[in-house]
Symmetry: C2
Subunit: 337 residues, 2 copies
């Protein structure tokens, strides 16, 4: 390989199992270089095998430790694991306290584990798209499971959840009343709820609150959350109405308690996805959203090229001067097209 | 007014100061009805007067109480205040404990205050755009200050911050180690840092940690965070390099301690924005981002109309079958255009 290999060459090296090429290619993908797009196209036929698990939750729930322990459990079952840490508080991104980093130490020497931090990427915009691309690189590289860790609650988390087959939402007792309230939004994307730090006082209260919220009818359909929002309006495929009862699993990540049950819950959800056709429905929703984003980006670039950046600037100034409303400026810019 | 007035008629009533019309028009804007767009265009010439303040922070920082107390302080100075609660944990959206709701009770009967919750809107997508539109309705309705309360950390918060002239980031002592780490991202959008619950133990530690992060060079330029990311690439206006030292204000919202200092900090930042030209730069960045979003949406609708939803579905299936990479599918869909 030349000293500065093309992304294409890196992609071929990744398919041969070269680990250094993997890290270098991911950097290109993160930087959204043009040749990274070609490399992704090369990898595309080799994707579709990995089981992608999203892990999200507020700071303080111990989700990074959980990812660590979960990874070890998967390794014991012979699965290879790629971890993408989008969460800036994750020890995988160097964001957390020393104890966490020591706990993750035993993963570092293992060739069946690959850890990538995306937490410190400058721009939040496009993070979801880039995370999806990196997950696909890991998929093509042959990892059995890809774990994406996010901090929860924001739009980017919901979008990143769109990349996952199964989304774990991690809670913990005793994080205050406010935390209970925030769950309403995040519950909608949960396939499996984890109450971590289950040895703490108040765990029964947390579990009961989650059960109450689940029974209030949040998330009755599993296809719904990704499928409906992103795809159903654009495809003619009928929505599916199979049911998945979101389980609540109690864990103490630090001691490993409940981890076997968590792995079982993941296996059950994976099997459910396959049997119900939901696996394919989620993939379809994801691809539809991706094509849409790419098409919009390309259409935008073409418009800028045709009209010129000056026309846009001029329209902005007219809106600022209150000569045109934004709606009118858009019409003016598109006229003659 | 007829029983089901047009959005246009509601807009005119809003300009006459009718409060019920305001609530009804905002509902139309939230529902993104076509005639709401015309109403927004009607209101546009009357916007540009309100001072828009974003307030963001993690659950448990007491930011809702802070918004409440801040609003009272502004009222005492004769300013009218519109509040948009995007945060599902806010008492303004009915999300918090009873005590909070009692504390906000005294705002409810005041005609100089208007409170709108957007926390329970189903779709997170488009929330930032809708919040911006609602802020402009309140602006046209004559509110001197518009406060937008968000829960912090996600992409939508950063986008919503793009709507604000001044962004307050609220912290509190004793929320755990993880919370310290998360600040790195959110600090970038802070114009004023508030350490609330400053009567709690650990407040010096929190303040020192924030000072350290500020001095590490986060956010050296004030134009940068909105201006650069959203606009500078698209306009030919040079970035401005004026400096604003992000102040750290300690408050105890519940007792009113530090609120006068906070109002002063807001006034100073507002004056700074005007003097430095940053006010206009931020408006320009916001309008540029808005026009871009609207243009992209319209281009997308046109493409769907031209090509038909079936062509998109077919492309999705080819990508799923690994016959085409997403990049190739996009090229195929746009060919002949």
């Amino acid at each position: 390989m030349p000293r500065t290999p093309t992304a294409e060459a890196l992609a071929e090296a990744v398919l041969r199992g070269e680990r250094r090429a993997l890290a270098r290619l991911i950097t290109r993908v993160e930087n959204r270089t043009t040749d990274a797009q070609d490399a992704l196209a090369t990898l595309h036929p080799h994707t579709g095998h990995a089981y992608v698990v999203g892990v999200t939750g507020a700071p303080g729930t111990g989700k990074s430790t959980l990812v660590n322990v979960l990874t070890r459990a998967l390794r014991e079952r012979g699965q290879t694991v790629g971890i993408i840490a989008v969460d800036p508080t994750s020890p995988f991104s160097g964001g957390a306290v020393l104890g966490d980093r020591i706990r993750m130490g035993d993963l570092v020497g293992d060739r069946g584990v690959f850890i990538r931090s995306m937490a410190n990427r400058g721009s939040l915009g496009g993070l979801a798209a880039t995370t999806g691309d990196v997950a696909r690189v890991l998929d093509a590289a042959g990892f059995d499971v890809v774990v994406i860790e996010t901090v929860g609650a924001g739009q980017s988390e919901v979008e990143i959840a769109g990349t996952a087959h199964t989304t774990l939402v991690v809670e913990a007792p005793g994080l205050g009343d406010d935390v209970q309230a925030i769950k309403a939004g995040i519950l909608e994307i949960a396939d499996v709820l984890v109450v971590n730090k289950a040895d703490r006082p108040g765990v029964e209260h947390t579990v009961r609150a989650l059960q109450a919220m689940l029974s209030l009818g949040h998330r009755l359909r599993t296809v719904g959350h990704h499928g409906q929002r992103m795809a159903v309006e654009e495809t003619s495929a009928p929505p599916e109405y199979d049911f998945w009862d979101v389980p609540i699993v109690q864990t103490v990540a630090i001691s490993g308690e409940g981890i076997a049950e968590l792995v079982d819950a993941l296996e059950r959800h994976r099997a459910y996805l396959r049997q119900s056709g939901d696996w394919h429905a989620r993939e379809r929703a994801r691809v539809t959203a991706e094509l849409r984003a790419r098409l919009q980006e390309t259409l935008w670039e073409r418009l800028l090229e045709e009209r010129g950046a000056e026309a846009l600037s001029a329209a902005v100034e007219q809106v600022l001067a209150r000569e045109l409303a934004p709606q009118q400026a858009v019409r003016a810019l598109l006229n003659g097209r």
